[in-house]
Each structure stands twice: as structure tokens, then as C-alpha cells.
């Protein structure tokens, strides 16, 4: 059986790749397209380290088949910063020391951006429940949630 | 004279002594003196961590001892994190 030829859009640019039918988007992003920022923590959709956006929806890329991205749009951590500027979410994560080992950080940043697109003014509880699908073992989530709420305020144009 | 304080488990190897005073400038000399005095103990403390006046050394062999140093032999201290 030959490979499938998939044409899609990744981080705003056209992309194409060959893949087997059974390969996950996570695997192809990392081993095929060379975008290593999306991380593998579990391959069962339980940890959120592989979070990406598919047609504007937050998904665990380990549970999406690469072939499913044909004709659709994918956004990964590599597309969050624009040009030479960090996204406010990235900046706030740094300012609040919201990362220690950093392995969950790409997934969390993608998920946070999805949260704030849906709900620009979340309460602490709303933020915690939205991000419950992103495991972090290092921080205990305190500084992450502070960074998220501060980024939300900044993106709303309020003083941080 | 360095003063060694033995744990309850170690006392069996030193004829029941709770403490001993031994003239030694370095831990290596202390060990040699102990092993000479108690042949059954020979080599048994080579891998022990050594607390000298409260500070625990994992590699203590050539650590100097003061005239009134208090010495304990104990398990290595490391960790996870």
C-alpha cells in the first residue's frame, strides 16, 4: 500500500506531506514535517502536551489522523509568535515563571490561546477547568493560571 | 582526638562501644586506626558518608579533622528532585 499525499495548511502556510493511513498528526508534525515543538506525553489524549488547533478547534494531535488534515488548517506552537514578537501569552508565561521544565508549555500556550479566543475574560475557575486537559507536573499550576489571567487582561487592553 | 559516636547498629562491630576517641588528622587515618583495632570492621565503613561536626561528606577520605571533631559514619545522602 502506498502512502497518502496530504495537502494542508500549517501555521498559515501551505504544507504537504506523505503519510501512512494510521499515522497520527502528532507523529507526522514531528517526524515528517519537522515541527518538533508539539510534544508527545502519552499518545492517548490525556496529557495535552500535543495540543494543536485544527480548523480553529483545540485538539490533541495524538488522536487526530494526519490524513484528516487534508484541506484543513493546522496551527501549532511554532505559529504562535508573529515574526520577531512573542505573543502576549508567551511573554506572560516568562514573566510569571509559569514554566519549570517546559515540556508542557507548548501545549499549554496553544490551549491558552484557544481559551482566550473563546472567552477573553475568564475567571480563575473557568481558566482552570478549560486547561484541565493540560497536565503539568512541575508547577502546581499556580503561576500558569496567573500568567493566563494576566495575558487575558493584557489582550483585553487593560493594565497588566 | 576525634570523637566517633557509633550508631546502635555499628556498636556490634566495636565491642559495644558507644563512643571512641582516636587521634587522627584525617578521616583516612581514623579509618585505618579503627580497622586495626577492630579487624572485623575492616573495609565496612569505606563507602559510608561521614558527618564531621554536623556536615555530611559523601567522599570524606581525606577530610581533615580538628582536635575535637565529632564524627559519625552514616548512609550516603543524595536524592531525587
Amino acid at each position: 500500500m502506498g502512502k497518502l499525499h496530504i495537502e494542508t495548511q500549517i501555521n498559515g502556510e501551505p504544507a504537504e506531506f506523505l503519510c501512512e493511513g494510521h499515522q497520527s498528526l502528532l507523529e507526522v508534525l514531528r517526524d515528517g514535517v519537522g515541527l518538533l515543538g508539539t510534544k508527545e506525553g502519552c499518545t492517548t489524549g490525556d496529557c495535552g502536551a500535543c495540543s494543536v488547533m485544527l480548523d480553529g478547534r483545540l485538539v490533541p494531535s495524538c488522536l487526530v489522523l494526519a490524513a484528516e488534515t487534508e484541506g484543513r488548517t493546522v496551527e501549532t506552537i511554532e505559529g504562535v509568535a508573529t515574526g520577531d514578537q512573542l505573543h502576549p501569552i508567551q511573554q506572560k508565561f516568562l514573566e510569571h515563571a509559569a514554566l519549570q521544565c517546559g515540556i508542557c508549555t507548548p501545549g499549554l500556550i496553544v490551549a491558552t490561546r484557544a481559551l482566550l479566543e473563546k472567552n477573553p475574560n475568564p475567571t480563575e475557575t473557568e481558566a482552570r477547568y478549560f486547561l484541565a486537559g493540560n497536565l503539568c507536573r512541575c508547577t502546581g499550576y499556580d503561576k500558569i493560571i496567573r500568567a493566563v489571567l494576566d495575558a487575558a487582561a493584557e489582550m483585553r487592553g487593560e493594565a497588566g | 582526638m576525634a570523637r566517633i559516636i557509633f550508631s546502635s547498629a555499628q556498636r556490634d562491630w566495636v565491642d559495644g562501644a558507644e563512643t571512641l576517641e582516636i587521634d587522627a588528622k584525617r578521616v583516612a587515618d581514623l579509618l585505618n586506626a579503627l580497622y586495626e583495632r577492630f579487624p572485623a570492621l575492616a573495609g565496612r565503613l569505606d563507602h559510608a558518608a561521614v558527618a564531621i561536626d554536623g556536615d555530611i561528606y559523601n567522599d570524606a577520605r581525606f577530610q581533615p579533622l580538628r582536635t575535637d571533631s565529632e564524627v559519625h559514619f552514616m548512609g550516603q545522602v543524595a536524592g531525587g528532585q
Binding site: 506552537i77 502546581g140 | 531525587g80
Partner: protein, 748 residues
Amino acid sequence: MSKRKFKYVGTRPIRPDGVEKVTGRANYGADIMLPGMLHGAIARSEHAHARIVRIDTSAAEAMDGVRAVLTGADFPDIPNQWMGDDEGGIDFGAIAQNCMARDRVLYHGHALAAVAATTTAIAQEACRRIEVEYEVLPAVMDLDTALSPDATILHPEAHVRDGQPSNIATKIVYEGGELDDAFTQADVIVEREFKTPMVHQGYIEPHGCTVRFNEDGKYTIWCSTQGAFGVQMFAAMVLGLDPNLIKCVPTEIGGGFGGKTTIYLEPVAMLLARHTGRPVRMVMTREEVFRASGPTSGGQVRVKIGAKRDGTFVAGDCEITLEAGAFRGSPAGAAAMTALSSYRFPSYRIQSYDVVVNKPKVAAYRAPGAPISNFAVESCIDELSRELEIDPIELRLQNAVEEGDRAPYGPVFKQIGLRETLEQARAHPHYSAPLGENQGRGIACGFWFNAGLQSSAIVSVNADGSAIVRTGNPDIGGSRASMAIMVAEEIGIPVERVRPMVGDTESVGYTDLTGGSRVTFATGMAVIEASQKVVLQLRERAAIIWGVEVDDVRWEDGVAYGLNAAADQDPMPLHVVAPQLRTTGGPVVASAQVSPPAAGPGFATHICDIEVDPETGRSQVVRYTTVQDAGKAVHPSYVEGQMQGGAAQGIGWALNEEYVWDEDGKVENPGFLDYRMPVASDLPMIDTVIVEVPNPIHPYGVRGVGETPIVPPLATVANAMRSATGVRFEQLPMSPPRVLAATDETGS
């Protein structure tokens, strides 16, 4: 030293490696891709205990895309030899057999063959096609079974007790005073028995490595590890190689907590790379991480404490039994050392047993052993405070160790901060806040050592006046930022002008692991010393420029000031000196190496409010405060991060985490869905209070902070549950079914 006014120490600059990490550019253990790379996978035991009769790899070898298949027969035989003593040590034969079974498998998931293939999927399928004939042996799956008189003995030659082969690998005893006598003097005695489950460190990044073998016999290992020099040595011992042939490059590490201070995949990948002549990448699946990497011990702890009516502790008796897993090496020693050591017990006995069972070989987990014995002892102290009707903080203050008190494991404490953390906890608004319905509050104390061990550092100054600091410690929690701060402080340049780098085994001097709460403490000492040597060199350069002696130059805050013969010179900042390094003697480079003792343990007091739903048994931590003595917080945000992260792990251990075993000795929950770690919605903000009682042997007073935070939470949460439900939980985790069963029973 505590009076020193710091300019950069204690500030919160953005970490130097931050941008790479928030953009996904940082490379972790699974991110090293080399041309021509093959993918490795491991075939694992289907039984908890069995002799391997025969392995047939022919079907695997015949598959398209398979380039090599290895079994234990392809690995050198490394003899079992315990190097160390009762309280700690290592057996490289055991590590070798753990990486690849030889004639016996000792836990479900034990590696018994490996495949290298052109894709991971092919390698994994090939592993499934390897046929193994087992002679199944009785599995020893818990401590009671291991200790029963007719138990199957896992290692009959290795462990003999009272003349009989035994599953008890070692026994440790600490004793003092007159125990029996002391208990008769006690007015109140509390005696309980506790059980804790096997739990995993839970790092989100699975183990991963890429290995290249060069035709000249040298290996390069890229791997996620807490210590590259450790990987180099362990791999050399396990494969019978000269360590000089092995270069280990540590990638960024996605969590370790002690679990990445040993090796699993690396020697296997090395042999596959040598056999195929191609680089080989191996990454564990999450399931493999749970089945086959080292968790920490499950345990049983019996505690008996006697006290006077006025609250003075008179006697403490503690019996600890820990699971080592398949090979000797549970943290029985450290569990014993820390069990009673926060308080004065004039009479005490601590007995600790390391017991082998058919479970994965345990590995270090953040303050190994201490949370387990602490859970039991602090729960008993809580019961004592209820019986004596003395406030739990008052009772602890009354008995808390301080400078001059002797620890049960021998030495006398120097300056420590337990008392200060208790006082700050008592004064904290959390402690006196009103509780709501179905809520309870608990407190507990704990500590961990900070290891010394060996570190080296190199600091150099560039012509533009910026600096570089090189150490060998993988950055697991923000340590690069702290190294940069220390160099900045000593030399007197802004933190942003210091670039810290983490070296491999060929680019930096030997350094012991990132772990043991030692990096800011011990490696920091090397960094400070190297920086001070740099300052001396800068003074010498200024002296040359001014034509005076070095004693005529003072260096402060990045500026050279003239004294004596040079008193009339204008102050000369570094950016004026630096371009002149060329003409005044060349580059400015200094190195330092240290091997300090473990000193100045860091104590903590935690407070937890918990709310229990009586219908479902589900509990929610509604407020949590940690108070910890950090000696001197170099970068307070990362100290707070350690306090919060350790507390979260402890909360998970207390409330939800446990390995669940089926009757065949197989883990039933090898994934994050059913191995339930805390998620963002489980926790509140975690309040942190940093106390600073300086560590007498560190130039800034730094104490290690990384491990102490996981020690008190198990008991803190259990004591809160006691307060909320009226039930003393003697078994962890306090998951909803257990809470319901216990509260239904008591009618609470």
C-alpha cells in the same frame, strides 16, 4: 553573610532559556533527529516472574525494515555486586539486568529484547512477533507475601537473613535512649499503622534518547537525563566499556524528579547503533514509562509515639517496610533518617526494611522515602495533639529541633529554620481563617537534606563585558537563571549580560547530577567561586592599565576603583576594561570545583484546607499554604515554583495516585487517565512563604529547596481530612471510594 546587600540575588529576571521553551524550539530527549536514523523498540515480559526458557526472534528478523534484533544474550554479563552499605549504594549488575533481562524476568514489562527498524511502527510490530517461552514462577506482589515464611525468594544468593534466603535486602536501625522505659513514663501513647501505594514521579516527558556509534568505537548519546556524567558512567558499567568512549549530551529535560537519574534505554540504543551502523532513536511510550521505569516504593509504616501530658515527646518507635521492586534499592535508609528527625525524642528506635517484590525496580522520587515515613509520624502527632488538646502548631513548636539538637542518624544540627517556619505558619492568615461546611484543616512539617557532591564551573568574560558561565547541570527547574544571577552578583553586571550554558561530558568538568536539592547550593558555590576568581583577574587587568599593584584596585558592582597609589584614578567600569583584555594578558577565564558536604537541611510547614463532599467522597483542596526555609532565595519565583510543584505532587499522592495491580501482577492503570495526577481544576492557588535562615556553609546562605516541598503534604492533607471527616485515614490514597467507605462506616 546574611547582612550582605544583594543587587541581583533575590530579583526575578526572565530565565535565559525562556524564549526557546515558550516557542517550542528547545530540544528534549525525543527531539534529536539524525540522518539515516533508525527507531528502536523493546519487547517486554508478559509475566511478573518467570524464567526465560527460549526467545525466538526469527519472525521479527524476517520483517521488512528490521535492521537488528537483540536479546540479553547480546549484552555482556555484569556480575551482581552491591557497592555501598546498608543505607545506600548501587549494583551495576542489577541495572544491567533491569535494562535487559538475562535468564529471568522479574516484573511484568521487564525488557527482554530490542529491535531497530526503519520506523517506530515496524519496530513495535517486530517486538510483538518475538516469541518467548516462559517458565512462569510464583509472583510476589506485595510486602506481606514477600515476608511470609514460605515466600518465593527473588534473589536467594544475594539476600540472606538469619541464615535463610530472604526477600529482605537490607535492614537499617537507629536507636537511642531507653525506649521501653520511656514509654512507661508517657502519659499518652498513640500507635498506628499506615500504608502508602507505589506511585510514579509522573514526569510528562517519557524517557528518550538518540545514540550514534562512530566507526572509531566512540558513542554519542543525546538523552533526557538529570546527569550526563551519570549516564556516561552507568552505560559504561552496564556494557563493560571504557567511559572515555562515551560522550553524553544532555538535552533539555521534561521533568525528572529523581526518575531520570538512572538509565533504561541508553545501553540498548547503544548496542543497536553499533550492530546496525546507524543512529538509533528510542523513546518510551507512556505505558512503558508506567510499566518499566522506576516508581517509588509502596510502603507500610508502624509508628508509636509517647508524650507527657504537657506535650513533651518522650519516646518514638517507628518500623518502616518499603518495596524495592525487582532489585534491592528502596529508600529505606532515607525514610529512616528523616522519620523522627524533626522533633526531639530522647528515646527512639527506627527500624527500616528494604524488601524485593516483582514490581518495577524503584527509582528516586523527590526526597526519596521521606514522604512515606513523614505521613505516618505526622499523622500520629496530629492524633497526639487531639488527645492532649494542644494546638498542633504549639505541640510541634514545643518539640521542634533547633541548632544544637542531635538527629537520630547521628550529627548535631547547625542553624536550621523549623521553628521559624512553624511560627510563620501560625501567624499566617490561613491558619486562623474560618472553615466552611464539610471543610477541615491540617498541618504538618518535614525536611530534606541538600546534597553536596561534586560540581565544577567555568566563567569567562568577553570583550564586550558580557560573561558566560558553563556548568554540567541539566536545567530542570530554572537553574540557569540562578547561575546567571550569581555571576551577575559577583562580577557586577546585569543578569541579561550573563549567558549560562549546560555542557556535555566533553565540554565541562565533572558534575554530579541535577538532584538532591543541590544545584543552586553546590553548583552555585562553584559558580560563585569561579566568578570571584574572575573578579581577581579583572582587578589584575585594571592594575596593569593603571600601572599599579593588584592590591591598589578594588572591584565593586562591575567597576574598578583605585586605592593607595591609584586613588586618583577615575573609576573604570567593566565595559572599559573588557576591550583591553587583549592587551593586558588575554582572555579572562576562571574555573572552580567544589565537593561540599550536605549541610543545612531545609525545613517546611504546610497548611491545607480541604472540603469533602459527603455524597461522593470527593475532596477538593480549597486552600494550601507552604512555609519553607530556603536559606537565601536566589530567584524567588523558582523557589516558589519548587514549593508549589512539590506540594502538588504530595497532594496527588495523598488523594488519588496509586498503581493498581491485577491478580497476575500487571499494572492496570499505565496511563494518565487512570493514574490520576492533579490537574489545574483540582488545585487552588498555592500560597508560598519563603523563610530565610542562612545556611552557614554557603556564601549567600542558600539551602537546597527542591525536595522538601513533597515531604509534608501527605500528612498535611490527611490531617485536613481527619479534621473534615473525623476519620483518621491510615491508607493512601484517600480517593473517593475509600473516603465514602470510611465515612459510611463511622456514620460521619
